[in-house]
Symmetry: C2
Subunit: 318 residues, 2 copies
């Protein structure tokens, strides 16, 4: 079967049957905004909703990719199939890091229970690609038990990851002034679990202690979850068992409290709204130079109408 | 006249008559998204379109506020009335800097030809406040010849400033590795003028040389403007005359080529579109838990419909 003639239903069937090639091809269709995108999304929908979504974020240098790598190994040990989406310009998954890291990541290269894909980030400022939630749908429908989204903690990405994931895992490490940085970046509010990696180094205990103190003071949402702090030395696999257990506890808590269903509905609402707004915007822009928006903009620039009145006219005309 | 009873027409008349209090009050109405916002915008519209908009951006430490301060003094010397909007958490305008800076900024405190206002930035990630373009409209209508928008070069703000301003001024300084940072941050593409500040320090010549070389290689838009590089020592006023001349040259070039009119129409289009999209989004959200969006989101979360089909249904229903 040549790839040209793969039908969408065939690809979905193959992806669900464990074909990494079919999974890769579906994600490419999503990333390329293929004309088949809608058909792909429609075919995937009935099979979605069972994967657990874990977001991993943290400053460069905390050992994010090492920890993701070790976490994947631990989840595999527990019999899970794991998909990884790396939206991180500095990640070895994305090709941005040292050769040593790339070699290390190839631990999973021959394991069909692991699927790793790098996603382009949105521009030089970071931020998730618009196609990230849709790539998650592909992996979810393909039967991966856990999908890990790894993103560097800069720009908008850490806020976006928290909106997308079931569980947001924030990585810190000693010797990076992370305590104060954590408070600054607002990650105290978004982390469900905090990992102090490189816990064999000087200062790890004080990072954990400072973090605990700050979490006590942080204004967290009213959901009632008490964020856990786990210490790891990901490079040698220490603490990964505890981390996987903590992830399980958070997932059980999400299910038991009904937060999981609410989070997923909220996520779907954001996704639907974003697609719908884009459709509306495209319709306004489509008409080009002769269009109503262009005409109204010229009037606003000339001062003959104000922008609010122009917006009212635009909405009324659409 | 108590401030409670100020009517919008009275405020606009007073602002145009030179009352800083009326200008401040109008900007507050804008920032607070007052119920009077639409009336304010409608009253301002006929008086807008004559101010020159200059965006000033650069990394922390390059002397951004010192340069803005010196530029304001130079433009005053040339007889211009100048408004400053500081969207910069580290700016002395915004209250984030050392006392020394604040005192220095008070140079203009008693000058009725200068109006300075700090604007809240959007969240901890920087980025212009949604109300920045509308505050610009207030200053424009109040008759300020030049409006300077100062923003720190992090996050989205430098891209947003370039979209908003007529002329984008990017500041660099020696000894900050700015050459390479400039290329990384994409500011080579957005700067109309580059200022190498602290030009009395070692390395200033090489910063200018590297910058010139990179600008030759940078993929700039097809507009045909060759960005100028100006050296300043803003703390002692050196180079400000050249900078003001360069700003004038860019403005003349914008007018002569028709780019100014096109930029302003494009800016109006973005503004109208953003307001209209927000109105559409509000309408979808307004209906709350009983609404169509909520219902569709629940179906997407349950896998009974895909997000694109849901978005189609939402747009069709609106």
């Amino acid at each position: 079967m040549s790839r040209k003639t793969d039908s969408v239903p065939d690809l979905v069937t193959a992806a669900r049957g464990g074909s990494p090639r079919a999974v890769a091809r579906l994600i490419s269709l999503v990333e390329d905004a293929s004309p088949l995108l809608r058909e792909v999304m429609a075919a995937l929908a009935p099979h979605t909703g069972s994967a657990r979504l874990i977001g991993v974020t943290g400053s460069p240098g905390v050992g994010k990719s090492t920890t993701t790598n070790a976490l994947v190994a631990e989840l595999r040990r527990r019999g899970e199939r794991v998909g990884v989406l790396a939206v991180d310009p500095s990640s070895p998954f994305s090709g941005g890091a040292l050769l040593g890291d790339r070699v290390r990541m190839s631990d999973h290269a021959t394991d069909s229970g692991v699927f790793i894909r790098s996603m382009a980030s949105r521009g030089h400022l970071g931020g998730l690609s618009w196609s990230t939630p849709q790539a998650v749908r592909v992996l979810d429908a393909a039967g991966f038990d856990t999908v890990v989204i790894e993103t560097v903690g800069v720009g908008q990405s850490e806020v976006e990851i928290a909106a997308l994931a079931d569980t947001t895992l924030v990585l810190l490490a000693p010797g990076m002034g992370d305590g104060i940085q954590a408070a600054k970046a607002g990650i105290l509010e978004i982390g469900d679990l905090f990992v102090v990696n490189k816990a064999d180094r000087d200062g790890a205990a004080s990072v954990a202690r400072d973090l605990r103190a700050m979490l006590t003071l942080a204004e967290r949402g009213p959901d009632g979850w008490q964020p856990e702090i786990v210490k790891t030395v990901a490079s040698v696999g220490t603490g990964l068992d505890e981390l996987a257990d903590a992830l399980d506890r958070h997932q059980v808590w999400l299910e038991d409290t009904g937060h999981l269903a609410r989070r997923r509905t909220r996520r779907a609402r954001e996704e639907v709204q974003a697609i719908a707004l884009e459709a509306v915007r495209a319709r306004w822009g489509e008409v080009g130079d002769r269009g109503r928006l262009e005409e109204l903009a010229a009037q606003v620039a000339a001062g003959t109408i104000d922008p609010y009145a122009a917006a009212d006219a635009l909405v009324a005309a659409s």
